[in-house]
Amino acid sequence: MEMTSISMPAIRSRPITIVEEIPISKTLRFWEGLKEGKIYATKCNKCGQLYFPPSADCSDCLCSDMRWVELSNEAEIETFTHVVVRPTTFVEYKPYTVAIGKLKEGVKVLAWLTGFKLSQIKVGMKVKLVAKVSQEGNPTYEFVPP
């Protein structure tokens, strides 16, 4: 589709590498939990709102008195896509399927969906949410067959 790009005279900018250190102190229990195979959400002790991704503060009533609750793992797929053209930092991965699933508790989760052929995946399908370690060694979570 792209029009032929004729090479034009240009000067290359100085290259830099940027790596940010993203604080996780307030959600540490979540990341530790993943290593133990558990998926935690937070719940506001004042208004009862449940948060996934886990949040240290309640955006509903602005209260910071939250507790950790373990999620059930039972989910239903609301939508999905198979990502073929990948960004720079994911080129080492094979094409992957991203899905949004609604958990029994009512919160929704966006994560990879594995263990199915693409043609088998349907909106409304039941799946299980599990903790795992990524190809790069990061704690993460994904949907798998129930």
Binding site: H82, P87, I100, A111, K122, V123
Partner: protein, 390 residues
């Protein structure tokens, strides 16, 4: 609040503009907009610039000062506005507000994006990060086409929308872009071309996606007094602007068949402008992907939820139909230089409402002389709807 009019517009050629840097590209839009208004750069006291990729896909971190200096605008109040792909509309709103409030009598809204100085994979990376990097990109690599593909699959599952329906949107966009000399993609295409193009993020294929484009657009706005003083022949009035936003996490949206931000922003805009949807003669909608145009019809109230495909199947959004949409080729084929898109939409509305300099075959019929621009940032993360009236 004072009445505000658009009195000058400019739009650069969109495309892969490796022949110019960010300043030179912006100049191509600023100069004609000032000439159109009968002003010089020295007459502009305030400038709002919409641009997203500063320091990411192009090298300048402070583009407002860099392009400001190049275009002779140094000394004016400057700011950069970020509302992702709606940054141009956010800049337009800032310029409009500066005039409406009485702070200044004339202001400039600018949009520029220089997206082709980096490779496509890195562009996919940056744009994919534009949502909620930490929760949705870091571990899951959701690209921008993938975000909209999530909406496409949900829409297809709920309403029976098909890949052929989506393809019809792309065919329409290319048809009109072929008549627009400013457009990035000027080739006519068929439904089969779309269906046989490579899958980017299922069900979206290459021809369902807007291209990665360089471009700039510029809009001069002025108060009613200034319009009289400058003896502007055909002022185009800002009838109303509406805005809203959506959650950063897509997982927090209540469904994936429409954008709440678009619904709310358009309701606010109709109210502010005092018009109903039936009075809108034509529209520019945010079709970064084909599914986005279908959802826009529904979100903006051009039809009921789930019936967007009927409009495109019946040709109701072409010239001669109920409401012509994206007669400039849209983001899909005119191109989508992210920060410039909002101002480019205002450029197109203005040209159409003035019934001037629009190529034969693209001029919309005007009954009420009301046009609407719908500009979404991210995947419904931001939305601005701007209604203009001649």
């Amino acid at each position: 609040m004072r009445k505000v009019a658009v009195i000058g517009v400019g739009n650069s050629k969109f495309g892969v503009r490796s022949d110019v840097n960010v300043s030179e590209l912006t100049f191509e839009a600023v100069k004609p907009s000032l000439e159109d208004a009968g002003l010089t750069a020295k007459d502009i006291p305030f400038v709002a610039l919409g641009s997203v990729g500063a320091g990411a896909w192009y090298e300048e971190l402070l583009p407002a000062v860099v392009v400001g200096e190049y275009c002779g605008l140094t000394g004016a109040g400057l700011m950069r506005c970020e509302a992702a792909c709606a940054s141009g509309s956010a800049a337009f709103f800032a310029a409009y507000s500066a005039v409406a409030s009485g702070h200044v009598d004339v202001a400039l809204a600018l949009g520029v994006e220089k997206m082709r100085e980096i490779d496509t994979q890195t562009a996919m990376e940056w744009i994919g990060r534009a949502g909620y990097y930490f929760w949705e990109f870091h571990n899951f690599g959701v690209t921008f086409p993938a975000y909209y593909a999530l909406y496409a699959n949900a829409h297809m599952a709920k309403f029976g929308t098909t890949e052929e329906d989506l393809a019809l949107v792309a065919v329409k966009s290319h048809k009109y872009a072929a008549m627009n000399p400013n457009a990035h993609l000027q080739n006519r295409i068929t439904v089969d071309d779309v269906l046989s193009s490579m899958v980017i993020a299922s069900p979206l294929k290459l021809y369902d996606c807007s291209p990665i484009t360089d471009g700039a657009a510029s809009v001069v706005v002025a108060s009613e007094e200034k319009v009289r003083e400058l003896k502007i022949d055909t002022p185009v009035w800002v009838a109303g602007i509406g805005y809203s936003s959506g959650t950063a996490n897509l997982s927090k949206r209540h469904d994936f068949v429409g954008l709440d931000a678009s619904v709310l922003a358009s309701q606010r805009a109709y109210k502010a402008a005092g018009v109903t949807v039936d009075q809108v003669d034509f529209a520019e909608v945010h079709d970064c992907f084909t599914i986005a145009e279908i959802m826009a019809y529904e979100d903006l109230g051009f039809c009921r939820r789930g019936e967007g495909v009927k409009l495109v199947r019946e040709g109701q959004t072409e010239i001669g139909g109920k409401i012509p949409v994206n007669m400039d080729g849209g983001l899909k084929a005119k191109g989508h230089p992210i920060g410039a898109t909002g101002c480019s939409m205002v450029y197109e509305l203005t040209k159409q409402l003035r019934e001037e300099a629009v190529e034969k075959g693209r001029q919309v019929p005007l009954k009420n002389y009301v046009g609407l621009a719908h500009n979404v940032g991210g995947t419904g993360h931001y939305c601005y709807v701007t209604i203009l009236r001649r």
